[in-house]
Assembly symmetry: C2
Homo-oligomer: 304 residues x 2
DNA sequence: CTGACCGGTAAATTTTTCTTATCTGTAGAT
DNA sequence: ATCTACAGATAAGAAAAATTTACCGGTCAG
């Protein structure tokens, strides 16, 4: 980190691009076109540098311009400065890319949605490494230990600090195995469901209550619950024919499609908020973060 | 002059100075001070680059900032880009300096004022070479063949095309040698002067007429003239005691000071315009031109 | 000689940059 | 603990810069 420097005598940096292009084309208009500017803009940029250096860089010859000797002397230095900058940008971005992206998820979202798709992501983006940290207990996105979170939020997080990309809405619906359904007398209504063994999650026992209420059924606090600790386990219980689980999101799409699970009652309780990706606002343009978010959001939109 | 390039992905060049200084100081405020800016300006510049690269370059640690790994990776590239630019500027300026500066003068101004001072200028500015082109006939500054002119103008040249630095005003006064004065009866008035042999310049015979008029003396067109072709010769004639010459500017200061010339009549005819330096407007900031103009103007002010 | 082409210039507008004022969080002192 | 001084971030407005639009003048090819 070398010391002292005399940055004062640097030429107007922005205008250097005009000089570079004008020198390369030996034409103001062509340079302007390349830079998506009008020709007076480039003309002005060149004049700025000529003034700053106190040296003419072009002379008009007929209706064209031609670099002066000084212009030709200066050009390679400018060129190599630009190349150095481009190299630097690439090096910094490569460096950033080399670090694994830390992704925080809830255990259910991880097991039943993200984990399945991660291999494809890694195959499509071999330059990005991932670290998944799944937790069944932490509901809050922890920006100290993760770059991106796939989380559920009732209300979108503070937009002043966080970038939020919604993925799926949050609607609760009951599922059970087809054999379980037959054993308990085929089709039932919401009221009938209350007599069956219901699988609930420790931390979200109130979900059933809300669902019954939204289905227009008076809630009986003495409903026979089977308590498990995560939604992923509740799903396994339902598949195994142990009871009716209350699910949200796209986490049982596959089981519903291939018939391992059915919805004994069609009613869905639409809840506020939804699942989405979250990251610190200042990271939203980070190459790794952007790559990951765009990819996941694309797949969520495509496959629900 | 290598071809193609992808300038699009260059970072915002102007903001790079902020990044450079902030990295070097590891402090936004110190960087701002060095760049003569306020700290929000530098803060913003850094953010601009971080956004452009999609990579954080600093993290806040306590109440200070510290470069991230990416910032440390990027820095040397930026640094070397700046150094390349500074080298380029120097190389171009050195190149420009190597060419001789073409100075156009009238013969009198050259012989009696400029030529004497040129050696000192060359000694003080060994990097600047001069080509003097003196002419007794060309009155118009010829910007095709000269970079700077030391010329007389009745009215300042068009400021849209030329840069003009006035040096001395133009006031006509008569001079002769002391012996000549004594031979012709000592002190005289303007009227008496008309009877003496007057030295006039071919191309400016009307000068005497104007001088007499401004002195309040009726002009007699039959005054005995000795005609010479340049003012420099007229001066020599006067020194040699051949007659009275009509002089302007500082061109006989030395002879008046050491007594080789005297002013037989004190009246001076102040004429419009004056002597000055002229150059094309677009050259006024050229290093060689500026050096020369500043030096000459300084000496003209100091020594009249 | 005419018309298309090229670059320069001026004025106005848009964009960028910078400053002023305020806020948040940290570290050191009381 | 609480207060103060300090370092940065942020927002809004002001200042400065870059850019565009419209136009001019010179040059060259037909």
């Amino acid at each position: 980190m070398a010391g002292k420097i005399d940055l004062r005598r640097l030429p107007p940096l922005k205008a250097l691009r005009g000089f570079e292009a004008a020198t390369r084309h030996q034409s103001i208009r062509d340079a302007a076109e390349e830079l998506c500017l009008t020709h007076p803009a480039v003309s002005h940029q060149v004049q700025l540098i000529e003034e700053a250096l106190g040296v003419p860089l072009f002379v008009q010859q007929g209706r064209h311009i031609v670099s002066t000797e000084e212009g030709r002397v200066l050009y390679p230095y400018v060129r190599s400065a630009f190349e150095s900058l481009l190299e630097g940008v690439e090096a910094a971005q490569r460096n950033a890319l080399d670090k694994p992206l830390r992704v925080q998820t809830y255990i259910t979202a991880s097991i039943r949605w993200l984990a399945k798709r991660v291999p494809q992501f890694l195959a499509e983006h071999p330059e990005v490494k991932l670290t998944l940290s799944t937790s069944g207990t932490d509901w809050e996105f922890d920006d100290k230990h993760a770059d991106v979170g796939l989380v559920y939020c009732e209300t979108p997080p503070d937009p002043a600090k966080f970038h939020w990309v919604p993925l799926f809405d949050y609607a609760l619906f009951p599922v059970c195995s087809p054999s379980f359904q037959q054993e308990h007398g085929g089709a039932v209504d919401a009221r009938g469901l209350m007599d069956l063994p219901l699988v609930a999650i420790y931390t979200e026992q109130q979900n059933w209550e809300g669902w019954f209420r939204s289905a227009g059924v008076a809630y009986d606090p003495h409903v026979p619950y089977i308590l498990v600790d995560t939604c992923a386990v509740a799903i396994e219980m339902a598949v195994a024919g142990q009871g009716v689980a209350l699910i949200n999101g796209p986490f049982v799409d596959k089981e519903l499609a291939d018939g391992r699970l059915v919805t004994p009652v069609e009613h869905r309780e639409v809840c506020p908020g939804g699942w989405g990706l979250v990251c610190r606002k200042d990271l939203k343009d980070n190459v790794r973060v952007r790559t990951f978010i765009d990819w996941v959001a694309g797949h969520a939109a495509a496959m629900g």
